[in-house]
Amino acid sequence: MSMDRRVVITGMGAITALGHDARATWEAMREGRSAIAPLAGFDDPTLRVRVAAQVRDYDPLKHFDEKKLLLLDRVSQFALVAAREAVAQSGLDFTADEKLRHRTACVIGTGTGGEQTNDEGSRRLYKEGNPRLHPLSIVRRMVNAPASQVSIEFGVTGPSFAVSSACASANHALAQAFALVRGGTSDVALAGGTEACITLGVLRAWEAMRVLADDTCRPFCKQRRGLVLAEGAGMFVLEDFDHARARGAEILADFAGAGMSADASDIVLPSDLGAARAISASLADARLNATDVDYINAHGTGTPANDPTETRAIRKVFGVHADALSVSSTKSMHGHALGAAGAIELLAAIGSLRENVIPPTANFLDPDPECDLDYVPNTPRERAVRAVLSNAFAFGGLNAVVALKRAS
């Protein structure tokens, strides 16, 4: 029988362009520091992509031995690094507790899966004319590899699967994990998103769509020129409140609800109606009034199309309260990590609730008349934060919004 349990977050972990853990990532966001930098690692002067938010100074051997690394695409490495941090913070000890392992789910979003492996295989096959691909190519690149590897790492045997909805993958994954814990299927869920999409093939494909900025990511301002690709992961421990309280765990935030919708219209052009339906659904699911919300971490990609559409969607749902909201896009700092975006942005949501400070929209120049909300330009702002929404609207018109409340 489905239950209606209170769900809380008891652990978080991350590896992003802003830092190699959740704390460093949040501190950079809180200070308004951007990690967008000249693209590194590609010696091809014909590439039009000039900037990216890459995970720098990352040494896989610091985290995994060589034998283990044979099994892991970069996308799974990131998921594991972030999951280890989240589990350590939660204080859960899976090794000692078989029942807990059975009662724990693992749901991880990724947009592209094992792109590094895919890219290496393509190079070998088409460029080098070598028909022999690495025997572990499939297990490295399958979209469920991060979820499988995290379940193996901790021995968790509850419902485990991947969720893929492009730029909304992480939020959809978090929504599924939330539903499993709220409904009583699992007591704990390891959930988030991961992406390692900075390969020549992916860069060229995005370049061809002409939606990438050549300078930096400037969401909601007049001079915005598109999105900036990023990589990384964010992972969280979602837990039944009673389970967390019984073991004296520190509660980082309440996971209050989630709302999802499909535009069912254009494959790339976003719809304000579809976005507004997901936002409204998240409020209803979380039993929040519009006036309870103080901060929205926007999808805010910095493309010409997204930002005014998202602004209209927020106005539709919040009415006059829209002008009292703080709305920021932290993609201006950590870039757009596609299937990991919602997970990285959940760090901003949690941080704002715990510290009562809104991370800014960095790189903001002049306002655009079509984007007329308070985007917290360039400078972080202190304000009391009771509830937060975090938006994700994917190519393909798939929307997922999660709602968090301050831990009470």
């Binding site: 014909t46 061809a208 002409r210 050549d214 020129r225 790339v268 010409p304």
Partner: protein, 92 residues
Amino acid sequence: MSDEVQATVFGIIAKEANIDVAKITPDSTLKDLEIQSLDAIQIIFEIEDHYKIQMPDRDPNFDTESVRGLVETVRKLLADQAAAPPPAPPAA
């Protein structure tokens, strides 16, 4: 050459957007022709492929510019190319 460029660009627009080439004039905007952004990207891709040129990245107001602007851009790129042949592109 100028007529050839215009005819070719018009032909590519008509084919990609599935409209009658007679509907297109130099003053038409992509918006007038009801060409969606995804079709516009494909039109540019086909023009680049046909002439082996690289069009500049579009501005946010691309959709409101006229087809004449597109044709002029192609002419200019072809003239630049004739004046100074670019280095051979990397192996595909």
